[in-house]
Symmetry: C2
Subunit: 314 residues, 2 copies
């Protein structure tokens, strides 16, 4: 059967050609049938052989055959870019977090619905190999407690990314929200915050560490420690004590152990999963916008006790 007509790749533009676009998006797009990189918008960076524009407005004007955009810019500027792209009839993929506020997402989702275009607010960690197996396990077992340990060296993972310390940049919640995106996917019941302590460097507008307590209607204790000051071994682990042993997601959700026995030992395929899902959403004319992880972070800023800690210099 010849289905080549259906297989014409979607002409995709990358907006914001920074670290995440180069490290993750470009390799994943290259590995995913269904997309071709047709243009780039970036103030400073360019891609050999691909039409380049300094801004998304110039791109929308100058490359009208682009069908979809992947917004890899900092969250503070993403809403306006997404609104412009949707207004121009493009499908839109948002890097995480999907924006600078929770409130901006509902109007964007409504605009996508009204224009018949796809809006996909991605949570890359939900595509890690162990997440769906963990979800399936927890659907069948009672959860006794959860401990999240998400500690990394900001100098290694976010070199020179000043936006992360600005209002809306989330600080340590930029990685921490990955853990929350997994947590809210694998647990059968909604969780909510009960207490938080946020450590702000004296010279910064975003926290460098956070201790969070969540629970659910059953009173399950759920504890999270986020820290950007980790040197040496890095930790991206979620430990779930159940009525049938301990489930441990490690390496950001790539690996799953049950009482020490390995169930999943995956390689990093998060972004190929993202682009496969994006292709499916476009084909179905659907959107996928889940604000919940960002809303939990907003709650942490709302309820969190603030302490001032030593200044952070990049």
């Amino acid at each position: 059967m010849d289905t080549s007509a259906e297989k014409t790749p979607v002409r995709l533009a990358i907006v914001g050609l920074g670290k995440i676009a180069r490290d993750q998006h470009l390799p994943a797009i290259a590995a995913t049938p269904g997309f071709t990189v047709a243009a780039v918008a970036s103030r400073n960076a360019a891609l050999d052989g691909v039409p380049h524009f300094p801004t998304i407005e110039a791109l929308l004007e100058g490359a009208p055959d682009v069908e979809a955009v992947a917004l890899c810019t900092p969250p503070q500027v993403r809403r306006a870019q997404a609104a412009a792209a949707l207004a121009a009839g493009k499908h839109v993929l948002l890097e995480k977090p999907p924006g600078a506020t929770v409130g901006e997402l509902a109007p964007l989702a409504a605009a996508a619905t009204a224009s018949g275009r796809t809006l996909f607010a991605t949570w890359h960690s939900r595509f890690a190999a162990a997440v769906e197996p963990a979800r399936a396990f927890l659907a069948e077992h009672a959860v006794r407690s959860v401990t999240i340990t998400w500690k990394e060296d900001v100098r290694v993972w976010h070199p020179g990314q000043g936006w992360i310390w600005e209002p809306g940049g989330l600080g340590v919640f930029d990685p921490g929200i990955n853990a929350l995106s997994i947590l809210t996917r694998i647990l059968p019941r909604p969780v909510f915050l009960t207490a938080a302590e946020l450590s702000f460097p004296a010279n910064r507008q975003a926290p460098i560490a956070a201790d969070l307590n969540f629970t659910d209607e059953a009173g399950t204790p759920i504890r999270a420690e986020f820290d950007f000051r980790q040197t040496g071994p890095q930790s991206w682990d979620i430990r779930v004590v159940t009525d049938d042993g301990v489930l441990t997601l490690s390496h950001g959700g790539a690996r799953l152990d049950h009482d020490g026995r390995s169930l999943v030992d995956g390689t990093d395929a998060e972004y190929t999963g993202i682009y496969r899902h994006f292709a499916g959403l476009i084909a179905r004319g659907a959107s996928d916008v889940d604000a919940l992880p960002l809303s939990l972070v907003a709650d942490a800023f709302l309820l969190g006790r603030r302490r001032s800690v030593e200044p952070f210099e990049d």
Copy 2:
């Protein structure tokens, strides 16, 4: 026609007999057919001739014929009280803000639905006399800009209310959220935050002043100034420039002027409106839980630039 059977008043308990309960709830309940105060739970205060309990747990145990509870306690403790009351089969009215986080509301609403009980997250300012007339006007006219000025003297309105300065107490957003509850009711389009500056007293965990910029999909400029340090004249005003003159809600939404001509000059009847609505919800077996004003405040804490200002001593 004898409808006395339908008119049996709902046996209501007040939980938290503080300033708001005495100033607003008790007079409104006395003025509203359909409710009778059957019990009080309060650590320190009591009401002559009404059964008294030290905690809501003791009340639920000791006054099983109570049918509904009004939670007038600080927001930080309200979720657990609401969950306990719903689990005991009571209807629940929440003072504003409805809780300490946005995330805690969805499970409460689900519990109310599951138990067939009413959960009513009140926003008293939405019952001010000019709010519905303003909404009707704005449904028919284009909005050019909105300016909110919400400035009051915290020492007058919140004497000794230490909880307001604690995490989850909201500081100046405790009154400011009233303005946001009106704004989100009267505007035809959803609004979202684009920038915020929050002034935190050096010795407090909640802001004493806030400058907020909102907009909507049409790009309407919406500005709000909240300040707890106002002495002299107090301001609770919302000014809306439209394609047909200027609409001004003043006195917290009790009065409405159109280009200087008075359209509404209401007296304070917010809490009687609340209890009439609560009675209607109970009669219909419905709930009313709108988290949006609190979500906008959470966004302000998430995105807001923080500045430290002089310590506040009560």
